[in-house]
Symmetry: C2
Subunit: 412 residues, 2 copies
């Protein structure tokens, strides 16, 4: 029988009623003839509670114990979902990560999936079981200890199962009914997209549109898993959500598919750096070693052998960046007059595969912002993305203006 | 290094402060030179919450899924305890049941321990780890599924580990500071016992004194594990609690060591049963098959070929008993006029190894109750126990009168 993967996030299994509602959706697919693999998250709020306890005990915790604690919420939901399905006369059983086993490397709390041997579950399907309920987010290391895949890791669990079982589709049930052209809370004209390419979704996810974990999109792209995002909460709606797929499967051409934003970006400026060959390596080497994720970089024109160097990084890494640079200065590796951290900025990005073939997108973006009197502090571009750093107070205005400028309300 | 087992119940790990307090006690034993195996229960209330969810979804639940859900609370505490110990610079790590592995049979939700291979944990002790924190109550079946050991099962986990590691002692930390001559809430003269024999503890546990799971006491007796019950809550007290040990280790002679009671006993009377050889088997066979735990049995003198048969069973099994007997009657296997269930009774018991050698205990018990005007409905005795069923309203009075009569306030 064809296999379908269905993943339910924390809000979709927040209580027994929601679990029942999710189980009914699973029952519908079983009735259509699918063998279903259900991936569940912990009940909403539960993982945060567990993380809070660990943080309270030990700010510099042992990641192996963190994983053992934080991964436990999914076990509860998996068992409750299996029981609910059984109560509906759907043959089901639960699997915890180590039971599958979902094998990962030993990078605790950010583990990578190595393998999902499908034989155990396939044998149960052959015996008549119709639903395998899997505790998401967790796996087991080569040392036999519990690992977790990072926040949002259940998305990645779902896609990995879909790849391992050559599933027809991987449906991600969440609290929104699909991927939007931008955040509807900020822009009332935002439209749900019927389809979006893997590449675009990847940029949107990494830019802070929190619908899917970035790695799950990478994995889906690599293995050609058809990924669908839809709502489990909207009872009456039979909305098909948004399909994340190869760009060949998207008929209409569009230049920009979405406007993303992030408030969690800080602008760091090294003032009056002594400019010399290798200075960039001297600055960004120590930052990388300290685990600072540098996003955008700008180097100003050099005057009299000195220059200003500006970069952006997540706001919660500012302290770490300051420490790493101060240490490099103390070691005599770099020389600068001042380091200014500006956390009152936001990143706004336009994303679209059409940019590859169509020119003038950047120009239109810059003109739109300029017309609104918004000053651009830093610019970064990729093949299908243009990002700008602006004052945080203009973020909503910029999103709305760009949404209008690229006529995204006409997409669907 | 000598090994010590310390078990902390749900109230002893109810929140992070309590876990810290428990960890400090562990640290004291580590400082004395012990390698410590810590067994933890789920945080107080957590298991009840999980059981409640399962019951709400499915009154006739799949016990394998029940175990997967209900056993998860201990994993959280084990990880948090390991982190707390690490924070105190005590080398510690957690083990879940399947990681040890604590091997059980497949009797889900009432599984029996088959084996605890000690090599894995011993190797870690040899490497310098000082505390192994074990999630109590849970194990793994030969099929690789999670099992639980029944309510109070963490006591049994603790004793089994003490036996497997030849521990010097097994300390059970709970919310009372030891085993008392009777329940102090009912009798203000109740005294904590310094020592009690395995046999007496076994009778007290099975009679409803809920300090230890009955099976843990059986296991301790079989493997000669020194068991100590003490409070983790009483901060200032350095009370040594109560030692459960071989009777040879108890110096003072005493006839009765404790008065136990149970409100959860019902008296069932089959009125006018046709008396014939094999009638007892015809009655109690079907009850046993229906899973009714019959405790006391009385058969009245037979008159004109008919008799009354009285027995006791837990109150929550009354419905099941009625159904089993009605079915046996319908099948023509037994014949009776009426079945009367009296749930307004209580069982009161005197327990003491001294009864073996000293006569007159029963007589003193009956006279004491008679002097208080309490009517005895059913009597049952074992080598070291006398139990009576009485009207529930007299229960407290009976406990106090018997405590006085056997001068238990003089014990310690």
């Amino acid at each position: 029988m064809p296999v379908l993967v269905m993943k339910f996030g924390g809000t979709s299994v927040a209580n027994l009623d929601r679990i029942k509602r999710a189980a009914k959706r699973v029952g519908v697919e079983v009735a259509k003839g699918y063998d279903v693999i259900v991936i569940v998250s912990a009940m909403a709020g539960r993982t945060n509670e567990l993380v809070g306890w660990v943080d309270e005990i030990s700010p510099l915790y042992d990641a192996r114990e963190y994983d053992a604690v934080v991964g436990s919420g999914e076990n509860v939901t998996a068992g409750l979902m299996a029981l609910t399905l059984q109560e509906m006369d759907v043959p089901a059983r639960s699997w915890q990560g180590w039971q599958v086993p979902l094998q990962t490397n030993s990078a605790h709390s950010a583990a990578r999936i190595l393998d999902i041997p499908p034989d155990n579950i396939r044998a149960k399907f052959a015996e008549g079981m119709r639903v395998a309920v899997i505790a998401g987010f967790q796996g087991v290391s080569p040392e036999g200890r519990i690992t977790t895949l990072g926040r949002g890791g259940s998305d990645t669990t779902a896609v990995a199962f879909a790849a391992a079982f050559q599933a027809e589709r991987c449906d991600i049930y969440t609290d929104v009914d699909g991927v939007y052209t931008t955040d509807p809370r900020i822009c009332s004209k935002a439209r749900k997209l019927d389809r979006i390419s893997f590449e675009e979704m990847l940029e949107l996810a990494s830019l802070g549109a929190k619908v899917l974990q970035t790695r799950s999109v990478e994995l889906a792209m690599r293995y050609g898993v058809k990924l669908r995002v839809l709502s489990s909460l909207n009872e009456q709606s039979d909305s098909a959500g948004t399909l994340v797929c190869d760009e060949e499967e998207i008929m209409e051409t569009r230049v920009v598919s979405g406007i993303a934003y992030s408030r969690e970006e800080a602008k760091m400026t090294l003032v009056s750096v002594a400019d010399r060959p290798g200075i960039a390596a001297a600055i960004f080497g120590p930052l990388s070693e300290a685990g600072v994720n540098v996003d955008m970089i700008i180097q100003n024109i050099s005057e009299e052998g000195r220059t200003d160097m500006t970069f952006s990084c997540p706001t919660d890494q500012v302290k770490r960046a300051e420490k790493a640079l101060a240490e490099a200065k103390a070691r005599g590796e770099i020389n600068y007059h001042d380091l200014i951290a500006d956390t009152d900025v936001a990143k706004v990005s336009a994303v679209g595969i059409g940019m590859r073939s169509q020119s003038g997108v950047a120009a239109r973006m810059f003109k739109t912002l300029s017309d609104e009197g918004i000053n651009i502090k830093v610019i970064a571009t990729s093949e299908i993305k243009i990002s700008v750093l602006i004052d945080r107070k203009y973020m909503e205005l910029a999103v709305q203006a760009l949404h209008d400028a690229f006529e995204l309300e006409k997409l669907a």
